[in-house]
Amino acid sequence: MTRHVMQCETDHDPHCITCADEAIPLRVLRVDDERGLALCEDASGEHTTIEIALIPPVAPGDGLLAHAGTAIAPLPAEASVR
């Protein structure tokens, strides 16, 4: 039996990262305050540009939860980014 039949591009923990009530933890690498964007890294080391207009100011090293390319919540300082 095929156990994991993926219908869409998924993250490393086979979820659809775009359409469901999912959010992925990311670590901020660099912040572009002027454009309201941050370069972030996920657990697998992949880099993504994230909108940061909806959360309090972040700095490199901070964690955030992102959904569909937008940070929707900051992560507690002690949280690990998988």
Partner: protein, 371 residues
């Protein structure tokens, strides 16, 4: 890893499972709905339902936005994708959702320029790279996703991008919950509330569930112990005769939500008078459309589309699955005529859909009844 290992600790899981057993009244059947597809996925991935007593039943709610999109809206998207000079963009899960005459993937095979994106920001980037094309983004999702679309439209305006359009299919979580609670064929004892929708809207909008319907709801995270603890909290409320909104996911969800996100939603979107949900029919004020202030980005104003309501295939029982009335394996076509490779209904297409979760994690039958 902080906030991961603790929430997957098997020993703590067994302790919680023991507490759940102690809270359950013998002879009483408990039916709890997990509203969101992410919880459905966690439940089957981690085998959470196997830790619960037989008389605690988890049913799956309408929280997968791809699963609740009606066929007519898919047809409208395909019609836009076939317009000359259009690049149509959407999230991956949408590509295989059947319309009345094929899916977006079929339309792509026929020559339409349809591209999968991970975020609306990716779609805007495509628009900037292709100034001689119109780029349409098929926006879908609950309040978790809608702020991302709203911010992208604000960014498009700020950057003067005039070839970017949005076909808005965003929906809101409260009206379908109310519709479910009003439905005569539903008897629910409580809800596991959506975690990430609540980072945006907060837990406050769910207060009507205890105040008007006298049912408990616990907003929960997505790790296995989050879900188990939410079940324990619901059962504890029931055993103590309480019904309240509780927030199990406090490490991420503020009770009042994210005010910046709510503000941008109010600026860019307005409520539609009604919106069709697969399986649930038309629900008042449950869908978002682009506000007048952003009307120049509204793909539905730029392109004429069929706009026809299409009935679901007769064999498909997605509606009953979405309402939690039947389990996926009770559908006549589950795992036979309808599989992830050849889906008939939306619940089998989306990786967050209840049928796909059952299928992919090998839940083909009523195993729990024989445990």
């Amino acid at each position: 890893m902080k906030y991961v290992d603790e929430f997957r600790d098997p020993e703590l899981g067994r302790v919680l499972a023991g507490e759940i057993v102690n809270l359950v009244e013998p002879g009483r059947h408990y039916k709890l709905m997990e509203v969101c597809g992410g919880h459905t996925h966690s439940i089957y991935k981690f085998g959470i339902d196997d830790l619960l007593p037989e008389n605690v039943e988890l049913v799956h709610g309408p929280g997968c936005p791809v699963c609740v999109i009606p066929m007519g809206r898919v047809d409208d998207g395909i019609a836009m994708a076939h317009q000359p000079n259009v690049i149509f963009t959407c999230f991956g899960d949408m590509m295989r959702i059947p319309g009345s005459d094929g899916s977006l993937l079929d339309a792509k095979a026929e020559g339409a320029d349809i591209r999968m994106v991970y975020s609306p920001l990716d779609a805007l980037r495509i628009a900037k790279q292709n100034p001689d094309h119109d780029v349409v983004f098929f926006a879908i999702g609950f309040e978790t996703t809608a702020p991302s679309t709203a911010l992208t439209l604000k960014r498009a305006r700020m950057e003067g991008v005039d070839n970017f359009f949005c076909m808005c299919n965003h929906v809101t979580i409260v009206p379908p919950l109310r519709a479910l609670l009003d439905s005569p064929d539903m008897r629910l004892d409580g809800f596991v509330g959506p975690g990430h929708v609540s980072t945006v809207v907060g837990a406050r909008p769910f207060e009507f569930i205890p105040s008007e319907y006298e049912k408990p709801i616990v907003v929960a995270g997505f790790e296995p112990l989050d879900v188990l603890q939410a079940v324990e909290m619901i059962l504890r409320q029931l055993s103590e005769g309480r019904c309240e909104v509780e927030n199990q996911y406090k490490r991420v969800v503020p009770y009042e939500g994210n005010p910046a996100a709510l503000e941008v939603l109010a600026e860019v979107f307005e409520l539609r008078p009604h919106f069709e949900w697969r399986g649930l029919g038309f629900i008042s004020q449950s869908g978002l459309k682009i506000s007048e202030a952003y009307a120049d980005f509204d793909a539905e104003l730029k392109y004429s589309v069929p706009g026809v309501r299409v009935a679901d295939p007769k064999a498909c029982q997605c509606g009953e699955v979405l309402k939690g009335v039947i389990k996926p394996f009770e559908c006549k076509v589950f795992g036979t005529a309808c599989t992830p490779e050849r889906p008939i209904g939306t619940c089998m297409v989306s990786s967050e859909g209840a049928c796909a979760a059952y299928y992919n994690y090998g839940r083909f039958a009523r195993e729990r009844e024989v445990v």
